[in-house]
């Protein structure tokens, strides 16, 4: 019965468990909290592999660029910045583990991530508990920052973008009948669709049909056939560019000619690559326009293109701003402890990001205007208008061409 190899496996297995414990014990005996010398370590959690790898890697590029720039400019308090990136494979539990590891073992000063609200929600309790400030670049669901006062974000929340497109559709395009095609697997899409529906109806429009799909679907013809029957003036498709391109193609094939409307999830070179001419005349809300002549945007686009040989999408731009906000707060903070950085972050006012002038409200959500872009020939995104948050007046200088010349630094 007693066979050496099996015993060996048992021992190996047990050893690995103890090894892990031991390692943790060693770390436990060390200094709790961030190191006082050497580079400042910032943790990043993202989906580098798995179903949503395309979003995670895009976001990662934005962070890389921001940190490289900050280091080139001398770092923070004469210390260089180092990003420790952990992959979560797009799995929520892995995001929680990665956040825990970064906080407990790598003693990061702050956390950046995740792209998706679901995974940010798994990370947030860990950051909150350890009093490590966390900025999510692009988790738009309101629940994320509601977890606690150490959780921030660099993007709009869903209600705002839904409102923007409803207002734009009703007031600028004068549409009265709009159909919705939402992605139920994606809470971002569901959030936008709900708010759009509510606001558009309030403003006197009608929703002719509310259809849905699941991220990763490729065939939307059944939904589009139904939508076509109701002959709407426009279709609101708040999804990611990966799906919207196909939606546009199939809409055109089905003989639908009305414009499609969407949110910042559309923003990517891939949108035009996949959707092509079927997208002409569609509108979507975004944080900035690549064509915006303001130097800070042009500079960002140029540097990004140089570094990664591709144009930045909105995820990259938001990640760039999230990292920028963090660097800015660390410079302003009285020391590099969690609570101090948190206070500095909470006080962020008019931070000149590429996605707009960011001021955080009391819920740690940015208040910034959105732009509406139109897809033009050759996949060029043409600026249409700027829409301010509800109840806020439109400052004259945010129009393109009149953007403030003063760069952030």
């Amino acid at each position: 019965m007693l066979r050496p190899p099996r015993i060996a496996f048992v021992v190996l297995g047990l050893a690995s468990v103890f090894a892990c414990k031991k390692e943790a014990a060693d770390q436990g005996s060390g200094l709790v909290g961030a190191a006082a010398t050497g580079p400042i370590i910032i943790g990043e959690v993202g989906s580098m592999t798995g179903n949503e790898a395309t979003f995670g890697t895009s976001s990662d590029k934005g962070i890389q660029l921001a940190i490289t720039e900050a280091n080139a400019a001398g770092g923070v308090r004469n210390r260089q910045l180092k990003v420790s990136v952990l992959d979560d494979e797009g799995k929520p539990e892995q995001a929680a583990t990665a956040a825990t590891k970064l906080i407990a073992s790598d003693h990061v000063t702050a956390l950046l991530g995740e792209v998706a609200s679901t995974r940010s929600k798994f990370m947030a309790p860990k950051a909150q508990q350890a009093k490590v400030p966390m900025i999510t670049p692009s988790s738009t669901n309101p629940e994320v920052t509601a977890v606690g006062d150490y959780i921030f974000r660099a993007c709009f929340i869903d209600p705002f973008q839904g409102y923007v497109m409803a207002k734009f559709a009703r007031e600028n395009l004068k549409l009265s009948k709009v159909a919705i095609l939402r992605d139920v697997r994606n809470n971002y899409s569901v959030g936008l669709a709900d708010v759009f529906k509510e606001n558009f109806t309030k403003m006197g429009g009608t929703i002719t049909r509310d259809e849905s799909f699941s991220a990763g679907d490729v065939d939307f013809r059944a939904q589009l056939t139904n939508i076509k029957q109701t002959s709407p003036d426009g279709i609101f498709v708040p999804g990611y560019y990966t799906d919207v391109g196909l939606v546009a193609r199939q809409a055109k094939e089905a003989g639908i000619t009305v414009p499609l409307l969407g949110g910042d999830g559309w923003d990517s070179e891939k949108l035009w690559e996949i959707g092509g001419e079927a997208l002409l005349g569609s509108y979507f809300s975004n944080h900035y326009s690549v064509d915006d002549p303001s130097p800070r945007i042009q500079e960002f686009v140029a540097k990004f293109k140089k570094a990664f040989n591709t144009l930045p999408d909105s995820l990259a731009a938001q990640a760039y701003d999230a990292a920028g906000m963090l660097v800015d707060a660390m410079k302003r903070a009285k020391d590099l402890s969690g609570p101090s950085i948190r206070d500095a972050l909470a006080a962020t006012k008019n931070y000149k990001g590429v996605t707009g002038d960011i001021t955080l409200d009391q819920n740690r959500n940015p208040v910034k205007p959105a732009v509406v872009l139109k897809v033009g020939p050759g996949g060029k995104y043409e600026f249409v208008t700027t829409i301010m948050p509800e109840g806020q007046a439109k400052p004259a200088e945010t129009a393109p061409g009149a953007a403030p010349a003063a760069a952030n630094k």
């Binding site: 849905s212 490729v218 094939e253 003989g255 891939k270 690559e273």
Partner: protein, 300 residues
């Protein structure tokens, strides 16, 4: 009413794709009694290799053409055939006498390897790939029928008849049926079972490549995970029609496509996947052998 017929047209075109993938599933299962989970990923490799082939031989601006499509398809078929060969030799052949559950797990392992390996090698970003001219839409009595849809249906039917012909009217087909019936006896009768199984695998992979190219022509977005859902759906189609049965795969694919489109059209589109799998479960409970399959009672 037009709406209903449009749903039918859409259903048939989606179903033809499922059927095309299901053909490969059904063949391998018929001969080896192995659910080749990696089939969906070989199908993905078909699209991917097509993308590489076309970006090498055509430049961006050139319009897709039938001739170009044929060349690209051929290249992709050769590469996928070779891939099928390698997978079978390295991963499945050594397990031929092991319990079936082992092969099933290995198959899932190969599937993951192709998916995650694909993400590593090709980059997870989706890319645009289309080799067939797709702008031609036929308008008929208020219905929109895509050119690609017509091609897909015709190609799947052709391949089905071809396959049926191979299985029932060729030497290798006879050997395949013999191995399917009883591999040991077949080998005693002088059938080179290894060769037959490898041949089946390669044939299945070549079919997957063809399906991959057609799929990409219809849904011109290619990424390393694209094989996952169509793979599962095609499997459902194969079981629905009676796994191991070539016309059954075709029937199952078409029925599944129609059911999905009708559910999405008249029910709720977000429940589409749930409905597909519910149909599967119901079919298995009512007629476990599938619509066209036959049950063999176990000999005691």
């Amino acid at each position: 009413m037009t709406e209903f017929f449009q749903h039918l047209v859409n259903g048939v075109s989606v179903g033809a794709i499922y059927a095309l993938i299901a053909l490969g599933y059904t063949m391998v299962y018929g001969v080896l009694k192995l659910i080749n989970f990696a089939h969906g990923d070989v199908f993905m490799m078909g699209s991917m290799m097509g993308w590489y082939a076309s970006s090498r031989w055509s430049n961006e601006s050139r319009e897709p053409s039938i001739a170009g499509a044929l060349i690209v398809t051929l290249v992709s078929m050769v590469i996928c055939g070779a891939l099928g060969f390698v997978i079978e030799r390295l991963a499945y052949k050594p397990l031929r006498n092991a319990p079936r559950i082992n092969s099933l797990i290995t198959a899932i392992g190969v599937s993951f390897l192709l998916e995650y390996g694909g993400q590593l090698v090709f980059d997870p970003n989706p890319r645009f790939f289309r080799v067939l001219p797709d702008h031609a839409t036929i308008h008929l009595a208020g219905l929109n029928i895509g050119f690609v849809d017509v091609v897909t249906v015709v190609v799947s039917l052709l391949l089905m008849f071809l396959l049926q012909r191979i299985v029932f009217h060729t030497r290798i087909g006879t050997a395949m049926r013999a191995v399917s019936w009883n591999a040991d006896t077949a080998s005693l009768m002088g059938v080179n079972t290894d060769f037959v199984i490898t041949f089946t695998f390669v044939l299945g992979s070549v079919l997957a490549a063809a399906a991959g190219i057609l799929y990409a022509s219809k849904y011109p977005r290619v990424d390393p995970l694209l094989g996952l859902m169509p793979g599962l759906k095609a499997f459902v189609a194969a079981v629905l029609g009676g796994i191991g049965n070539v016309p059954g795969a075709m029937l199952g694919g078409l029925l599944l496509g129609l059911a999905e489109q009708l559910v999405a059209g008249y029910g709720s589109s977000s429940w589409r996947d749930a409905v597909a799998f519910s149909i599967l479960i119901i079919i298995l409970l009512v007629k476990p052998s599938g619509l066209l399959g036959s049950t063999a009672a176990e000999k005691v």
